[in-house]
Subunit: 345 residues, 4 copies
């Protein structure tokens, strides 16, 4: 931590900062310049944070140097992690395709979507039983009935299930059906929920908040990790910007940036990033090319009747293009597609 004193700070004010820091067990190094004095702090950063140093007279700025997250940081955990979901590994050694319907609507629709996903090479099934919707008048998901449908489809297809949970109280129920718990973009700073999935003992997919900085996103992951659960996969899903041609702006740079800062796997959701069916394949290519450890896409047997996000769901003809995009880009970046037959044999 570095404290920059105001240009007109006097000696007593500098001394007051040094005294406060040393009184808590920290050390303070003073560098006097022609116009400014800078104080470098060494010690417990969280303790320093609690001192409200920026409020002291004569202090112009307080700059944090170390990352405020620890468990998810790559600093003390240099090798990148692999997270196992059911029998499927998500991590640096392969590219994983996760697919399924945005919302579980009926047993038939879910099974059809799962078979479509599987045929395209997906090794994990996504599907929402609890849907956070901007409008209270929109379809909110089938709840437990949806979870049962997912479990049934898992039995039929063998695909482990990724599904969203939106409330801490629901975590035990959802965890009793799911293979991986998803935290959606609107809940990235729902701290009780993060702690509850941290306690649940299941892998977690943590979507980036639509206006989260990368640092805030990693801090949200730290909330889960702090409860002893490091089985976390980060999912970039587009951020909110001024551009309206796409639903969100895919921040593809987040993939290499996160991989440099954190050991956790990071995947991309091209469906929600663009919000347009015609962008799913090019954005999938970009994501895998940038090094993403996987992608998660919406598929639906009949998008025109979908109760949620139909305009971005892939249908039959697109899926083979998606499958090809994933295969080609995985190969071009020197990784196999997870579960691809050629690699098993």
């Amino acid at each position: 931590m570095v404290i920059v004193m105001a240009a007109d700070a006097n000696t007593q004010q500098v001394t007051a900062v040094v005294d406060l820091v040393t009184s808590t067990g920290g050390r303070a190094f003073v560098s006097r310049g022609l116009n400014r004095t800078i104080i470098g702090l060494v010690g417990d950063v969280d303790l320093f944070d609690s001192l409200s140093l920026a409020s002291l007279p004569g202090v112009a700025e307080v700059m944090r140097i170390s990352a405020p997250y620890k468990l998810v940081s790559r600093e003390h955990h240099p090798e990148r992690s692999t997270v196992r979901v059911g029998g499927v590994s998500i991590g640096p050694d392969s590219v994983t395709l996760i697919a399924g319907p945005c919302a579980v609507e009926t047993p038939t629709q879910t099974l059809e979507a799962a078979l479509m996903a599987q045929q395209a090479g997906a090794t994990l099934l996504r599907g929402g039983a609890y849907k956070p919707r901007t409008s209270p008048y929109a379809f909110q998901g089938l709840g437990v009935e949806g979870l049962r449908i997912l479990a049934d489809v898992r039995e039929k297809t063998g695909l482990p299930i990724v599904t969203e949970v939106v409330e801490a109280a629901d975590v035990p129920t959802v965890a009793s059906y799911a293979d991986m718990l998803q935290i959606g973009t609107r809940n990235v700073q729902n701290f009780p929920l993060l702690q509850a999935v941290g306690d649940a003992g299941l892998p977690v997919m943590l979507k980036r908040g639509m206006s989260s900085t990368i640092e805030e996103w990693l801090m949200a992951a730290e909330y889960i990790a702090q409860r002893g659960n490091l089985e976390i996969v980060l999912c970039e899903r587009g951020i909110r910007t001024f551009e309206t041609a796409t639903r969100n702006t895919l921040d593809v740079s987040a993939v290499p940036v996160v991989q440099r800062l954190s050991h956790l796997p990071v995947i991309v959701d091209p469906s929600h990033s663009g919000g347009r069916r015609d962008l799913v394949v090019p954005l999938t290519r970009a994501a895998v090319a940038a090094g993403a450890d996987g992608v998660i896409v919406d598929v639906h047997p009949h998008p025109e009747t979908a109760l949620c996000d139909g305009p971005q769901a892939l249908i039959g003809e697109d899926l083979s293009r998606l499958a090809e995009a994933v295969t080609v880009m995985a190969s071009a970046t020197g990784r196999p597609v997870n579960g691809a037959p050629a690699l098993i044999g």
Copy 2:
């Protein structure tokens, strides 16, 4: 709702849209232009939403015309509402000052802050017992112990309490102490929490999400209203932009825009908007001048030791300037300050 067909849409595609709409009981009016065909829909918009019309072949765009919120809209409730909290009214007929510490830390600190607030003209006490913090290593609030301190201070000062709740499961507990429940910026789309405070039968202060559009914010209010609770006060607290000179960018235009769209009272939080003590008074002036029904500010007897947001908390000398700013601007906009002695007599 208006459907714009693609330039190359054919007659069958137009007919398909019309047929789908009419099959659900809606009516469709077709306007054929030189290059484009436009279809105007009349009927149940939520039903139309569920049809995924944007996915139909030949459809270029689907545009919604009516506001997607109803209960909080001014369309069918033209007069502006007043919300009563304890004996205090928040609404168009006065300017209300809410003040208190960001976080409840000790009985003494809370009482001191409350007395400071009261002396500055505050008629409601704010104070957080449950604090959503970006870092899991930051102070998270005292919980129930904090609520007890608040209740005690209410008894000593007579100030009704506004306090945040961050989890649906905590609503009954918090509601048993509080006079008004606050939903923070990170929970504006925590739909189970919105529904829980909708059920709680207490007035609610709903902060705008840091990246919520005004429409999304009003939709969040609609979630509360749908549960039969229309005692909602909206609170603008700054939005996330590229500017870094302030913690957030106060969207002062939101005050008149919301007042035109919704009948609910709207107040402003100048402390969290700017994140700087020196901006609280000018932003308070701007907010009241723009027509805000009140302001909510952080005060702390000793900001330099505050466990939360010390840099923005007002202290002794600032508070009299704040009190004067509120009084002068309320008068300049033709409203009394809520609870001001001169107006009682």
Copy 3:
């Protein structure tokens, strides 16, 4: 300037930084922490900038401490400036109203708008003869013919003229007619134009770029000041954000922030900020209440036929409300309205 070394930087790397800095005449103070080493630099910041210190091995971050602008900074010019335009003063001792049509269209329209402006208390006339328009198919202004109309209206009304210039080559021509040169939002980083108006010897109104940080905006002013012209008035006109309810988001906080950083006067354009006629009066109130030294608004005798920005232009009935808003808010903030009769007498 502060250099933060990477956690794994070695002694040679620290020494290399120190040597490079000292070889250019600067001084370097090394603070070794448990995990990190920090180097504080003292000397010529621009020279340090040219060293590309961030590229040196072992350097994690380079942080600038002093403001990168000098002439427009309040650091060495603590009293706030007043800029004189024709006989009118814009500065901290009064509130100035500037009004007129977005674009000069005809002699009649311009004169009518000027008389409307004058009646509302405006002491300066705005009007565009050169219009930067997003579409090449939109009306681009009358050019020199428009300048002649403005000069004619000045003669008839006595109002000095503020008008935009969009190209360095046009500066002499525009300067031969205008009393104040306006730089529009799209040209805030058109550096040759900034230098040309710096050379022109006339006061300049510098609008904020729609995506300029406050620092970048002050740097743009520094370009003008560097040419010996400190007669600069800054104009906040809304920034680009995700919110679509308003054309731009008025950053009202910019008023007190700029006044703290720079000695230059700062005014607000509520017409272009909101882009809606119904917001002009409340945003004017907010701007003056926040301390703005003036406001600039669009007026038009017949907005429904305006060739530019009709939807935001004030008409007859609104103007008296605007005049009242300016008067009341100037009084509430302890300043007279510039040129108001009551203050002359």
Copy 4:
């Protein structure tokens, strides 16, 4: 164009809109709904724009349907274009690498950088002689002397030159040396400059403004095209968002979105997007994978002494990784690298 009337609009107001539209030669189709009336307009959109329809009594909203750009639109020019620069083609049939120093500093530095670029597979040389810099105290480029250096290096290496022009008056001079004129991000709405390069008869590279929507960017291209110059290459270079981990946020979705809307080639600048050397290769991979027709990168023989943007310039070891990334991704998307020896033979 569609006009949505307010809920309380009366018949006279609807008639007034229809009459105004028809009086200008347009046609108006009225759709009356239960709550709202919608009017569809057919005719000359630019004329409609000039009517200020949004200002008419009873009008709630005016929605444009057709794209406001024409010459650069793909609507009437469905096949994608190829632009020729010197002997080099930029377009859909290949992937072009453009590289060189951010700023021309000395003949040696420029030649070294050009040879590095050429060795990595670049077929065009970039280099700035006129540099728009945020600070007036930063290096502003060598001007004509820099152009002479570039011409000299072109003679030695055979690489055609892409270089920036920042002022309309400089266009003839720059055009007399350059093979392609570059318009930088800060000048995307410098309309006199756009018109001047439109007149210059040379190919133009038009960078996206850091806060331009895709539509505004295409409108800027339309300004150039309107002067009879359709030899335009668009360059995505990152947009301004709230994220601070990268200098800008690369909007990789812009590549497929632009290719759908416009026939012009689109390339990506991964150096300025990320502003970090370590992101250049992954962002190059993402860009080419998404379908970009080329990339433009900064290289410098000695980034630690670069006068401009040293932290993002590639050096020796990185360049072979860049060359490999371009080759692999071009191949994975079925295109040759422009000028690659294997394709000549």
